[in-house]
């Protein structure tokens, strides 16, 4: 009871201080994690994110020291993993593996988008096309992409093509479904407004639907490329001699847990970097899509 009273008390004070202060200052003053929809400054967001990551490494470190001496090599400390990572980079030409993996991800994802984006938008616009394709595409979403590995190995052998094909299969059906949903969610009044202005069918699609759906499409792409990284490891664990996944697989055979974890760390880092890249690109490409006061 008392605590609740204190909370609401401080709420009142914050409201009163609002005059002449910007929202960020108010946000910085309040330290509660569970405040609804506060406006955060870029700095606060960054600091909180770093704090979360630091917390993870601290817990990892503690976990390492709590592990009995004889099995500590199965949970190496963060600094040991970092050491392994540096050794890989300096002595084992790890950069080449990283570049190979990045090539596989980006090439396959680009190919998947090339098909999925126009197809998803078209299915969102044209009911007949949607009725024709949607049941089949939906069915493919339920097949685990990994189950195609034997087939792809028979067709393409243990080649890059086989890996790219697996990666494409892993994301393309979900991507189509997401972009179809994005397109369906375009406010119908925008389309009707264009029609009443005399816009033709082609104009409605290219000048209204496409710009309206673009930010959501980039968001869907950002989310799906994360799934792409998951399939990358699967693709490189089976019948591959290069790439991050292959390095991890080889390390596993010799129980080199620090190298496996270095691989996991690399993928995590690359994933976050891709995510940030997509966000920055979206912010740059759609300056109109800011929330008010953003």
């Amino acid at each position: 009871m008392l605590r609740a009273a204190g909370r609401s008390g401080s709420g009142v004070i914050r409201l009163r201080k609002r005059d002449g202060e910007d929202a960020n200052q108010i946000a910085r003053r309040s330290l509660s994690l569970f405040e609804l929809r506060t406006v955060l400054s870029g700095r606060t967001t960054l600091l909180l994110g770093l704090a979360g990551a630091t917390g993870f490494f601290v817990i990892w470190e503690i976990g390492h020291y709590l592990t009995p001496e004889e099995s500590q090599r199965f949970l190496p400390a963060p600094q040991e993993v970092l050491g392994a990572l540096i050794t890989l980079l300096v002595e084992k030409d790890y950069i080449a593996d990283i570049l190979k993996s990045c090539f596989r991800i980006f090439a396959s994802f680009f190919a998947a988008c090339l098909i999925a984006v126009p197809l998803g938008i078209a299915m969102g616009c044209f009911m007949r096309l949607r009725a024709l394709l949607n049941p089949t595409i939906s069915a493919f979403r339920y097949l685990p992409a990994a189950s195609f590995i034997p087939l792809l190995l028979v067709w393409f052998g243990p080649t890059d093509t086989q890996k790219l094909a697996l990666l494409v299969l892993g994301v393309i059906f979900f991507l189509v479904a997401l972009i179809l949903d994005n397109t369906k969610a375009v406010q119908p009044e925008l389309i009707e407004a264009a029609l009443t202005m005399g816009a033709g069918r082609r104009q409605v699609v290219t000048e209204v639907v496409v710009p309206a759906v673009a930010p959501a499409v980039v968001d869907s792409m950002r989310n799906m490329i994360a799934v792409g990284w998951t399939y990358l490891v699967i693709a490189e664990i089976v019948a591959a001699s290069d790439g991050i996944g292959a390095v991890m697989m080889r390390a596993g055979r010799f129980l080199k847990v620090d190298i496996i974890m270095a691989g996991i760390l690399t993928i995590g880092f690359l994933g976050v970097a891709t995510d940030i890249l997509f966000r920055l690109a979206a912010r740059y490409a759609f300056p109109w899509n800011r929330e008010r006061g953003d």
């Binding site: 406010q187 009044e189 202005m197 109109w288 899509n289 800011r290």
Partner: protein, 265 residues
């Protein structure tokens, strides 16, 4: 003024227009016939769900009658077109275009030259009191301002007929009032024929020359009421209208009709 002038042309006719939904089991608009004259401001009013929006969308060409015919200046309505500008209740200014580019969009569809577009967009930004906001994106504009962008975009196409579906429904009372006076100013200047839908009885009286009252679903015409106390004038200030003899009587009559419709089972 339309009322005293030589007989105006017929802008829109509806003959026995019926619109059914759900495979013909539900009738939204039932056998409506009407004739709207050029330069007339007509308001559809009636209880919620009575088919006002449906009727307006059929005139816009966004929906089709199940039975009956609609014409505009003698030609059958077969689909939407820039001769009938439409303002929606939801904000339809394109968020990816600045206010100015929004206003220019309709003119671009019509094939106006760049110079012409830029000249007219200046003019219409001023007309809807948005000069200075030409380069703002809708996300940074208020609801009323977004709606004004949409209105300017539609008017810049110089449509013969302007259709509005509760254009100020989402706005607060003060902004509504400002927008109503702005609309009167614009309509007077542009000589547009207007069909507007509203729930607001005072708004209907202030804007229109003629009020068409719909019955509760299925929508039929309950009454076709000329706003004769204004004597065909478009009154720039709302309070002037409120002071005119005859205003209160009409308002009372409309409220009584509305109650009659709402209470009918």
């Amino acid at each position: 003024m339309p009322v005293d002038q030589a007989p105006a042309r017929t802008a829109i006719t509806a003959s026995n227009v019926t619109r059914q939904y759900v495979g013909g089991t539900f009738t939204a608009v039932d056998d409506i016939s009407m004739e709207l004259r050029e330069n007339e401001i007509v308001c559809f009013i009636g209880p919620s769900g009575c088919g006002k929006t449906t009727m307006l969308r059929m005139i816009a060409g966004l929906e089709y009658p199940s039975m009956g015919d609609l014409t505009i200046f003698g030609k059958p309505i077969t689909g939407p077109g820039p001769d009938r500008g439409m303002i929606f209740q939801a904000y339809t200014s394109f968020p990816w275009l600045t206010a100015r580019k929004n206003i220019e969009y309709g003119m671009k569809i019509m094939g106006l030259s760049r110079d012409e577009r830029s000249r007219r967009s200046d003019e219409f930004l001023k007309l809807v009191h948005l000069d200075g906001f030409g380069d703002s994106y809708p996300a940074s504009l208020s609801g009323g301002m977004k709606q004004r962008v949409a209105i300017a975009r539609t008017l810049a196409q110089n449509p013969g007929v302007l259709l509005m579906d509760e254009p100020f429904g989402a706005l607060d009372a003060q902004v509504r009032w400002e927008m109503q006076e702005m609309m009167i100013e614009i309509i007077e200047r542009e000589n547009t024929t207007v069909v507007t839908v509203t729930h607001d009885i005072q708004e209907a009286i202030y804007l229109s020359d003629r009020i068409i009252f719909f019955t509760r679903s299925p929508g039929r015409i309950k009454a076709d009421i000329p706003v004769s106390f204004k004597e065909g004038r478009r009154i720039p200030r709302k309070e002037e209208m409120l002071a005119l003899p005859g205003y209160v009587d009409l308002e009372r009559q409309l409220f009584a009709m509305m109650r009659e419709e709402i209470q009918q089972k």
